[in-house]
Symmetry: C2
């Protein structure tokens, strides 16, 4: 772990040093902190404090801190600098993908100005070229910085190239081999370069079986390829097979975590990505849509039950077991749908094998339904409730579990076939529709048995 | 992407080649496939077919395929080999952490035999040393293979050491610097070694500010440190600060994904990690516990409502809105609890700031509650339901939303303080308790208003 732990007291001490501009106290502390730690501290500083603290850092560390800031903090912090400063003190030392991320979140007028001011025209062009890719494609996730070597080069030439690029490419793990048309043909690990004699040709030591993705591949495809093949970096090629960038493991780790959070929130009935630290307004807005779906479902339920008011009047005990039917319909539906959604996300389900999956989910549902119905009958026997009521509830329970499993299985598969993200079929959506269906069946069976 | 796509037809062709032992057809195909692809193919082979196919691979590739197999397939496949074979054809070429994983999942008698048969005693000792760490600690996740250099060495000596270790350490990104007591004092990147003159001393080029974790750190701590600092590998030290192993990015990527899946399944009410491809029996067993919780909750609900049977008899319309109250209590509870659980997992919530969080969740709940209650009143107005009933339902709805938010917020925080995984407080657990509470409040308010 880092040598310094960032506590509330530590931040208080630091801000008092900042407010008194005690550079001689701050510098030794800053030296020991990693960019990620300083970025964390920035969360608690105002703009003036942050700009002063940043002025004490060396150029590269200042850029690394900026890259690590949370999106909102990053934009706030950058307001302390002119377009010229942003271009030539920050962007000049920043990887193209991190710079493009920033440009994507500010007004396009200011973006253009920053790119114009950047004196390293090559770098400016690289950053601009990333802006054209749609969000969540490999093109938008990749960085242009990489080590590119030629098939006919010697190891010595490779080392020279790495030395030349060393400033721009912070993490070097692999050199990518291209032919005379810039097409990606293979790779050489840094280890191989280090251990081979200087005069060896790349041709002799490179691996020609290289995994790559196209610029238009989705973030999911990139993540699953890198995870499957344990890649520290994935080369990205254009439609002609020419090497145009790489995506590194840290980007993918962040991506996997973000996606998992999104799915989790979908299942919880939260429509936008929010954190507990976000504002009350944002938290309200993210949750309200699903609550209104739930409300509409509740009103629809009242209409369904309204049709059976006569039966309810006669057998008021039926009302007692409505919650049980609803809860079980909801639980079974969420279980089935989330298993499907995860399977689809992992590519372990082929949406064409729909009948097989359905059969299996039905078998599981029959087993679970029988166990639960028998337990309920057992309870009915010792509880002294009316036998007819308990018969009705148990039979309805079995039916509802079966139907909820079918709905929970089929809906995600259908959505997937329609190329809609199946994750929306989890959580409140499936619960609400199963509530409706479950209650209807319950009262239908009730009216048939109890007459 | 890989040159060959693995389709059903491809596997059929391959198995027919295997059954006819057509080595000359198989070898060129196998050469083009990555170990991960061959591992995928193994899923569809029987033991004889798998052993035959494995016999066509070179030693290192055979080991890489084994490492990539799914746990059950791996154990099944190893049954085709003697302890001696497992030790000296597989383990000899395998990273210590992968070997330890296998030993952890077979009988301890057979484990000991394999370790005894392994002729590389140093490697055998390394593997055995990993077995003593409890599951899900850094010690159990790390591999012993790493490049270790001394402070007073020259770059040339480092290169020699890397050459010596090159066979054992497949992915080299960094060399770790230790002092004479084997304590970790810093690191040198491979890039630095490559670009520095041979006579340079490690002392002159190493970075002394190195992030590490202890062997007893949890998997979560390891993952969050590596993610925060974008580390491709994390060195692990023992209680005396001595370097004992490393954890690499691919292990962490798998870990993060597995953990996310576990949380997702917890929220869906699935108690064990299952996939849609697992057996019917496993799928049933994983889901039944939460269904029984739901069943018990349903029975408890019937008892709660039973207390209000007289009111229900008098105002049967009250029954119509029970689903609405339950659905909303459940949805709000799941939303609040999942936001808390995610915040706790990301360390963005300090469980000591409990009052602040609670205040915020309450504010969000009041906003959402008011909107939903007003919408419901509006519906009541146009629907022609009895005014008293709609007043009761709307008031109960507001109360229930508030209370569900409180329960959803507090329960995970309390569990976290008690060092219990807060994720169990999501899904069916929170839904069931909120159902009970919601219904009780609903009928209580109903009996007060309607008399």
């Amino acid at each position: 772990m880092s040598a310094i732990e960032i506590t509330k007291e530590f931040i208080e001490e630091l801000t008092s040093h900042i407010d008194n501009e005690q550079m001689e106290d701050l510098s030794p502390i800053l030296e020991k902190l990693f960019p990620q730690d300083i970025a964390e501290i920035f969360d608690d500083l105002n703009l003036d404090q942050a700009v002063y603290l940043a002025s004490l850092l060396d150029d590269q560390k200042r850029v690394d801190v900026l890259t690590e800031l949370e999106p909102e903090v990053k934009l706030k912090f950058l307001r302390g600098y002119s377009s010229d400063d942003i271009a030539n003190t920050f962007f000049a030392l920043m990887d193209s993908d991190d710079a493009a991320d920033i440009l994507n979140s500010i007004e396009s007028e200011k973006s253009k100005e920053i790119l114009r001011k950047l004196t390293d025209k090559e770098h400016s062009k690289n950053i601009a070229s990333l802006l054209k890719f749609p969000e969540n494609t490999a093109g938008s996730l990749m960085a242009k910085e990489l080590i590119r070597v030629k098939l006919h080069w010697t190891v010595k030439q490779c080392t020279e190239e790495i030395r030349k690029q060393a400033e721009d490419v912070s993490n070097v793990f692999t050199a990518y081999v291209v032919d005379d048309y810039e097409e990606l043909v293979g790779l050489v690990s840094l280890k191989k370069i280090l251990l081979s004699p200087e005069s060896t040709q790349v041709e002799k030591i490179y691996r020609d079986n290289v995994i790559s993705e196209n610029t238009y591949a989705s973030g999911e495809e990139v993540a699953s390829t890198m995870q499957k093949y344990d890649l520290v970096a994935l080369p990205i090629v254009d439609a002609f097979g020419r090497l145009v960038g790489t995506i590194t493991f840290d980007d993918v780790l962040d991506y996997v975590k973000d996606e998992a959070e999104k799915d989790y929130q979908m299942l919880s009935g939260i429509s936008e990505s929010v954190e507990s630290t976000d504002s009350i307004w944002l938290n309200t807005r993210a949750r309200l849509p699903w609550l209104i779906v739930g409300l509409a479902g509740g009103i629809a339920s009242s209409l369904v039950i309204g049709n059976f008011e006569a039966e309810l009047q006669k057998y008021v005990q039926l009302a007692l077991f409505m919650p049980l039917i609803m809860a079980m319909a909801g639980n079974v539906g969420v279980q089935s749908s989330s298993i499907m959604v995860q399977g689809l996300a992992n590519n372990s389900i082929d949406s064409k094998k729909i009948y097989g999956k359905l059969g299996k989910e039905l078998a599981v549902a029959i087993l679970n339904g029988l166990v639960c119905s028998l337990l309920l009958m057992g309870y009915g026997f010792i509880s002294g409730n009316s036998k007819e009521i308990m018969m009705t509830v148990s039979l309805a329970l079995l039916t509802v579990i079966l139907l909820a499993a079918v709905v929970g299985t089929i809906v995600p598969l259908i959505l997937d076939r329609l190329k809609i993200d199946a994750a929306i079929a989890t959580g409140p959506f499936i619960t609400t529709s199963n509530d409706l269906l479950g209650l209807f069946l319950y009262f239908l069976i009730g009216s048939l048995i109890l007459g």
